[in-house]
Amino acid sequence: MAWRWPIEQVPFTGILITEATRAEGGWLLNKDGYRYLQDYDLGKPEPTPVLRSMELGPRDRLSQAFVHEVEKGRTIESPYGPIVHLDLRHLGAELIDTKLPMVRELCMAYERIDPVKELIPVRPVVHYMMGGVHTDINGATPIDGLFAAGETACVTINGANRLGSNSLPECLVFGARAGKAAAEYAASAKPPPSVVIRQADDEAQRLDRMLSADRGTEQIADIREEMQSTMEDSAGIFRSGDSLTKGIDLLAELQQRLGRVQLSDQTRVFNTELVAALELANMLDVAECTLHSALQREESRGAHQRTDFPTRDDARFLNHALTYRDSDGSTRIERSPVTITRWPPGERVYGR
């Protein structure tokens, strides 16, 4: 599974500063105040924005350039890790207020920065996952009665790197289709068979045990933070066979520790700690799927960039990866074909 990394997010809160800032002529600067994108085959710096060039390059290439700047020691240290600066000052208050009012409001209200006078600290942050629950175009999954739409689903419209602004239409279109299909299913479905009811009983008992049992001393926040850093280190903007293998081992440890999480909140009214524990379990499963499929995908495509396999390999990997958990707990990847309609994959060239 590939994750989308826009560059222009402020550290810590992870607020997304819209890509429109770059379209209007914002500059990305390293610690020397240098428009570093010119060093990464993204064109020459011009005073005004040039289509498909420099700051108007695609988000994945910009995020990759950021990593290289970190490696060269040309980024700025912050309490939340390395950052670069997004400079809008030369655009002036009038343009910012008319074309980018939300940006100024967000920076002032949530970050205490005025982009008219100050540089905005930014770094790439995971923003969207292109993979998800396997569905058809009506949101139906291979499991009867389970429907999914939006970011959680993978209806395969996004390929390996979603385009800007496509997540909202995705929700509107496939949310409506999935809603209709689910309603039709519910109206005609027979009562669940006893095996499904027994499964539901097991699930209720599992939740009861989570609330009551004396399971151990692990804390949700600790495991979540370690999962985040594991994923960033092993499957970040660049991955390799080594980093992914290491990440898979670390996640297996975290899965073990998850079983020893002790909830201090054992009430049944608005128990957000229980929700957090369930979410963490799901996130760990998704993280495992990501690493296993990334390890087997020995190529680079879209947001999936392997340093050990830097080129696209359509012969082996122009396909979707479906992740299964076998009864012994191991992970199995199967492949399903990609149907090319109007636009076959091509070489992506910028700044030339």
Partner: protein, 246 residues
Amino acid sequence: MSDSIQMRVTRYTPGQDTEPTVAEYGVPLRRDWSILDGLNFVKDHVDSSLSYRWSCRMGICGSCGMNVEGEPKLTCATFLSDYAPGPVRVEPLTNFPIVRDLVVDIEDFMEKLPRVKPWIIRDDEKSVIDGEYIQTPEELEEYKQFSNCINCMLCYAACPIYGIDETFIGPAAIALAERYDLDSRDRGQRERLDVLIEREGVWGCTFVGECTRVCPKHVDPAGAIQRYKLKAAKENVMAFLLPRGA
């Protein structure tokens, strides 16, 4: 600036506590930390049973409204350092029943909101093939301000009328009715006026203006209520002079 601040937070678990109590937590005081960041610090590192709603951290979802030092605020957009050296008091929104700790019961608002039919009502629906309902930037400007409402309910917490009379439909619902009334694509003014002309509609408001003062998105519900009162008054005069059906 000291490097930590005390937060005094309301705690309440139904069935366990007879009434809300106050717990005090020390949290790091950083220039860019909001009240919500302080609560998240408590939940992650001090007491994981603390309960509150939050989601986006950027003033869009409208779920993290609480009373900070007695004032309804979005806690993601309210900074700890503005209350230094502290302590800073964080309580559930006023005028709503408490479910748990800082979580309030929003059922009343959820029931009231659809009464004003906050969606586009058409006499006739165009088919998809006939294309979009076109709107000019000027027509958008007409209602844009009222469309910024994020249903955070700070205006209900601030409204003294809603505090006394819970049948009052309230500021956000009226602002949203106005948002659709002013939309050039909408034909539902009549249906909404029928709801808001009632006693629990616009007439409950005595124009205190607190709703507009606390609104984090500058929606100006008080302005919407005044505009609606004018519409309702006109309608009453017309109904007197020209009874419907006559």
